[in-house]
């Protein structure tokens, strides 16, 4: 039964995109589960309550930043007066101006430097987290849907390669935990499928909102590998691979995670 399901998913993926997910790294569509499914009932309740979810502190702040900037340049709202519904669910994507892959953080900074005459914001700065959270929240409930065809295919391959390569002193790859052993116990935790659909997310461990790249750095540190610097193109490619791997899963930023 399981094999039939896997086969169908592969056929449909081959049909809709040029690059198919390598079988050993894919999770069948009907078994895809958001990190939400691996939380305790209390943490799920914290995410579901739009007042108590601490991630909304950043969403609120992001909304204010979106409407006003500290200069005479146009605000985000000047161009995006109808909001950005569903936009975040299609990132990372190719930047039409440079042809390079950019994530949502990169797109926000591109807007700042190209259209607003403002300096780019640093990763994990309160302002960048807030703007990312505000925009990502507008895609809440939309299915993750990234394009990995054409010029994006090499980035996808790069992300896939990072995902399946063993690294660090523990000599573990991402897929060994998140594809082959999800649902099992790793000490006190249940291993999730490793999707990024809730990011930027409020992690209880961080006591703060954080980007997907911060989470990737934590995973790399966890297997005692040297994490890549923030904004590294390889991490952006990993974000693309993760989004393709989670294709169809609903976006739920700002999520609450352990």
């Amino acid at each position: 039964m399981k094999h039939v399901g896997l086969g169908l998913v592969l056929i449909s993926m081959t049909a809709c995109s040029r690059t198919e997910i390598a079988p050993e790294t894919s999770i069948p569509q009907n078994e895809l589960q958001s990190g939400y499914a691996f939380l305790t009932a209390e943490t799920q309740a914290l995410q579901d309550d739009a007042f108590e979810n601490p991630g909304f502190l950043w969403v609120d702040r992001g909304e204010r930043l979106f409407q006003s900037v500290a200069s005479t340049e146009p605000s985000c709202l000047t161009c995006h007066e109808n909001g950005l519904d569903g936009v975040a669910a299609s990132f990372p994507k190719l930047d039409p101006e440079t042809g390079e892959l950019i994530n949502l953080e990169g797109r926000i900074n591109a807007c700042r430097t190209r259209h607003q005459g403002l300096p780019p914001l640093a990763y994990e700065s309160e302002d960048l987290l807030s703007l990312t959270a505000y925009i990502a929240h507008q895609s809440n409930g939309d299915p993750i849907s990234v394009d990995v065809s054409g010029d994006a295919a090499p980035y996808y391959e790069l992300g896939l390669d990072y995902f399946i390569t063993r690294r660090g002193q523990f000599n573990l790859s991402c897929q060994q935990c998140h594809t082959e052993n999800w649902g099992k116990q790793l000490r006190g935790d249940t291993i999730s499928q490793g999707h990024g659909n809730g990011f930027p997310a409020y992690r209880l461990e961080w006591q703060s909102l954080g980007s997907l790249q911060r989470r990737l750095r934590d995973c790399d540190t966890g297997v005692r590998a040297e994490p890549l610097p923030y904004g590294d193109p390889t991490y952006v490619a990993v974000e693309l691979f993760l989004a393709a791997r989670a294709q169809g899963l609903e976006a739920e930023s700002p999520a609450v995670r352990r």
Binding site: F51, L57, R61, Q207, S208
Partner: protein, 106 residues
């Protein structure tokens, strides 16, 4: 400026028990943690929260280092009269943040 989120009912009937939620963005650094170079991260916590209903203290709390970051409080009071609820958080250095919510009691 700390971000504050309040949940107070806009209207209530006289004598009704109302639920109030108050959330503030604050690191609540315990003073027990160390940074990547082994240095102690100094304690930085809110020590006092007070809620006043038309000037009268209806709820107060002393915070200790074990309180998590971005603390949220849920408490109840009795709606007695139309007016203002003032929420005030004070940190260990005396810096304070406050916010006001209005309630109409019928």
């Amino acid at each position: 400026m700390a971000a504050i989120r309040l949940a107070v009912p806009d209207t209530a009937q006289r004598g009704e028990v109302i639920e109030i939620k108050a959330l503030i963005q604050h690191p609540m650094e315990s003073g027990f943690r160390r940074g990547s170079r082994g240095e102690v991260i100094p304690r930085n916590i809110i020590t006092r929260f007070e809620c006043r209903y038309n000037g009268a203290l209806v709820f107060a709390s002393d915070f200790q280092p074990a309180i998590a970051a971005n603390p949220i409080l849920t408490f109840h009071t009795v709606a007695t009269e139309t007016g203002e609820l003032e929420f005030k958080w004070t940190d260990q250095n005396g810096e304070a943040w406050s916010e006001i919510a209005t309630i109409t009691v019928t």
